[in-house]
Assembly symmetry: C2
Homo-oligomer: 382 residues x 2
C-alpha cells in the first residue's frame, strides 16, 4: 500500500493537512500589501513562540543556514569562541567556525552524554581578559537525543558577557526555550521540526546585545547578512524573494501552535518522550541517553540482540513507519524515534506497537508481547 508513510524521524516531521493545503494556494506578490500583512502577523507569532521581544528573522534556508547566519553575523575572523560538541550538530558548528577562521575551542562530551556546564564555567571564569566572544551550543542534539543544559550554560555565559548562540533546531516548539528569560543572544531553528512545517525556512532570533556586536563584526556575508533581514522585516518585507507558499503554511502552523498553547505543547512532548522511553525499557531496549538529559524531541535506542538497521528496515517495509538511523560512528548501532512537532499520543502507541511487532518478527526474545504498548499507554495516561 502506497502513500501511507508515517514519519517518526527528527525531520521532516509530519505536517498537518491545513498547513499542506495552505501551501497549495497560488503565490501572491511578495512586495504586496497582502504579503506585508501576512509577515506582520507571522512576526508577532514568532516572538510568541520564542518568548521574546526580539525580532525573529526568517530566511529561505535549512536550519544549518540559519545557524550559520546566527554565528557569522556577530563575529570576526580570529575571534575566540567556545563550541559545545557532543554530537553531529555540535561537530557541525565547529566546522562552521573553522571555515570562517574563528579560534574555536571545543567543550566536548561523549556522544550520548550531555556536556557538563561546569566545563563552560571554568573556561569562562578563567577568561578575565574577556577574549571569549561567544558560546555556541546545540540545545537538543538530534544525533543522540541528548538535551544539553542550556539554561545553566547561558547563565555562565551571561555572567561572563560573551554572546550565547543556540542551535534550537530540534528544541524550539518542543522544549522550553525562553529566549529573554534565559538571556539567549541568538536562537536558530528550522521549519521542519517543532514548527510542524515542511523544510525550507530557517529562523534566527537575535538579541540587542548581538546586534551591538553586529556593528563591528567583519566576517563576509550577503545572503546570510542578518542586518538586511532585520531592516526589511521591520517594514514587513524581506531582503530577497521569500518562499511565499511556505509562509502560507507557516501562518497556519503558528495559528495551530497558538491554539494549543506553549505549555500544552511542551507537556505533550514530555509525555510522549516519557511514554517512548518507558516502552523501550519495557521491551528491554537500552536507551542511549540518560533520563536527566533526554530530549523531548527524539529518543535514541541502542538495541542489543537485534540489529538497529534490521529494525528500521522491517518497520519501514511491514508498517511504513520511518525511523532514523545512527549517524557517523553510530551508524548501525542506534535507531532514533522522532516525537517532534505534529505527533499525537496515538502516534506513539502506533509506533510502539509497530516496533513490538517488528521485534517479534525479527525473533527478538527479550520481549513480553504487549509490554511495550502497555508501558507507553501507562505513561501517556499518567
Amino acid at each position: 500500500m502506497d502513500s501511507k508513510l508515517m514519519l517518526m524521524i527528527p525531520g521532516p516531521t509530519p505536517v498537518p493537512e491545513p498547513v499542506l493545503l495552505a501551501m497549495a494556494k497560488h503565490p501572491i506578490g511578495h512586495r504586496s500589501k497582502d504579503f506585508e500583512g501576512l509577515l506582520a502577523e507571522v512576526r508577532t507569532q514568532l516572538k510568541w513562540l520564542h518568548q521574546t521581544e526580539n525580532e525573529v528573522l526568517v530566511l529561505a534556508s535549512s536550519g544549518t543556514g540559519a545557524m550559520e547566519a546566527g554565528m557569522i553575523n556577530f563575529l570576526s575572523a580570529g575571534d575566540r569562541v567556545l563550541v559545545g560538541n557532543n554530537g553531529k550538530f555540535g561537530e557541525r558548528w565547529v566546522k562552521v567556525c573553522q571555515a570562517y577562521g574563528l579560534q574555536v575551542e571545543e567543550v566536548t562530551a561523549e556522544w550520548g552524554k550531555p556536556i557538563d556546564p561546569q566545563a563552560f564555567q571554568t573556561l569562562l571564569e578563567a577568561d578575565t581578559a574577556k577574549t571569549i566572544k561567544a558560546v555556541i551550543l546545540t540545545h537538543s542534539e538530534t544525533s543522540t537525543g541528548v538535551l544539553n543544559d542550556l539554561q545553566t550554560i547561558s547563565g555562565y555565559t551571561n555572567a561572563h558577557g560573551a554572546l550565547m548562540m543556540v542551535d534550537a533546531v530540534t528544541s524550539l516548539g518542543a522544549s522550553n526555550v525562553p529566549m529573554d528569560a534565559w538571556g539567549l543572544d541568538v536562537v536558530a531553528s528550522g521549519s521542519q521540526k517543532g514548527y510542524m512545517m515542511p523544510p525550507g525556512l530557517g529562523f534566527v532570533a537575535v538579541s540587542p546585545k548581538a546586534w551591538e556586536a553586529y556593528k563591528t563584526a567583519t566576517l563576509p556575508k550577503f545572503y546570510l547578512d542578518l542586518g538586511k533581514y532585520l531592516k526589511a522585516q521591520q517594514k514587513n518585507s524581506t531582503p530577497f524573494t521569500p518562499p511565499v507558499n511556505l509562509f502560507y503554511g507557516l501562518k497556519v502552523a503558528l495559528d495551530m501552535m497558538q491554539k494549543e498553547g506553549l505549555e500544552a505543547i511542551f507537556a505533550r512532548h514530555l509525555r510522549q518522550r516519557n511514554a517512548t522511553r518507558a516502552a523501550m525499557r519495557a521491551m528491554g531496549l537500552p536507551l542511549f541517553a540518560a533520563d536527566e538529559a533526554a530530549s523531548p524531541a527524539i529518543t535514541a535506542v541502542a538495541p542489543v540482540g537485534v540489529e538497529a538497521e534490521q529494525i528500521r528496515a522491517t518497520m519501514k517495509k511491514r508498517f511504513d513507519i520511518l525511523l532514523a538511523g545512527g549517524q557517523d560512528h553510530l551508524k548501525g548501532k542506534i535507531f532514533r524515534v522522532g516525537h517532534l512537532g505534529f505527533v499525537s499520543d496515538r502516534d506513539i502507541l502506533t509506533a510502539i506497537s509497530g516496533l513490538e511487532a517488528t521485534l517479534l518478527d525479527l525473533g527478538y526474545d527479550q520481549l513480553t508481547p504487549g509490554a511495550g504498548v502497555a508501558a507507553a499507554a501507562a505513561a501517556l495516561i499518567a
Copy 2:
C-alpha cells in the same frame, strides 16, 4: 472578489495547479530511497533545462543565494573580477563582490540599455597578465527588461580564460541559455521564474573549469559551499535538509517543461514579448528597452501623460492584475509586465485588455480603444 489575483510580475510567477497540488503532499524522509529517486530524476531534468553535462546543484535559497554561492565558491579575497552593471541586479553582484573583498571593476551601461560587449573585450584583451579571474553578468536584467548579450561576452571571456558567471534568474526557462555551447562556467537561477514554481529553491550549474578553481578558492563558506552539494548530489542526496515539498513541485514543473519542449518554451516567451511590446506601441506607451535588447521575460514601460504608479494601482484594484513597479531611481517612472514562466497567450490578451481599460479609466487620451489588444492579437497570431 477575492482569490482571483493574476500575477504579471517577474516573480513570483503563476504556478500550475499540478505543481501546487504536488506541494501539498505529505513530506517524505529526505534520506530515503524515495527521495533519492526523486532527486535522480530531477538532476537529469535540470541538465536538460541547462543544456549541459554539468551537475546543476539545488539549494534551499532565493536566486540571490544561488548567485552568491556561484560567485564565492570559485574566488578568493583580492581576486579581480569584472561585473556587468546596468540595473538593480548587476548592482547587487557588485555589492556581493565588495562584501567578500574582491577587487571589482564595473562594466556599466545606463539602466534600460544593454552593456556593450566591446567594453568587456577591451578589458579582457588588455589583461595579458590574466589577473581577471571572472566575468559576472546578469543575463536578463529584471529591473529594466534588458537582455544582455551573454553569448558574445562569454566568447570574449572564454578567449581570455576567466570564469564566466551568469545570473540567469529571469532568463533560464524563458530564453536560450545553452550552458555548454556558450561556455558558461556558473549559471545561477531561482525557482519562482521560468521554472513555474513558487520561490524557495536556488539552482547553480557549475562547469569543470569552475570546479578546478574551487580547489584553490578561499572565500569562507559553509551553507553555500557548493562542494558539499556536489558531493551529496552525485549520490542523489543533499548536504542539508532539502525543502522536500518544493522538490515535489519541481519534479512536476520540469515534467511540464519537458513536455512543452525547450524550443516551444523559448518561442512562447518571444511571441508574448513581441505581443506585449506591439501592444504598448499601439497604445502610445514608450518601451524602456530597445527591441534589440528586449528580455523575453519582462517588458518595462515608461508611460508619458499618465502615472506609472496610477496604472499599477488601478490595474490591481479594478482587475486584480499585479504589475511590478520601478526600482530605486526608476520608482514611479516605469511599470513592468512579467511574461515569464506559466503564462499563456490568453494571459497576454487579458493583461493588455485590462491595461487598455485602465488607461481609459485614468483619462489617458493617446489611445484608440481596442488598438492595444488588436496589436497583441496580431503579434500572437503571426
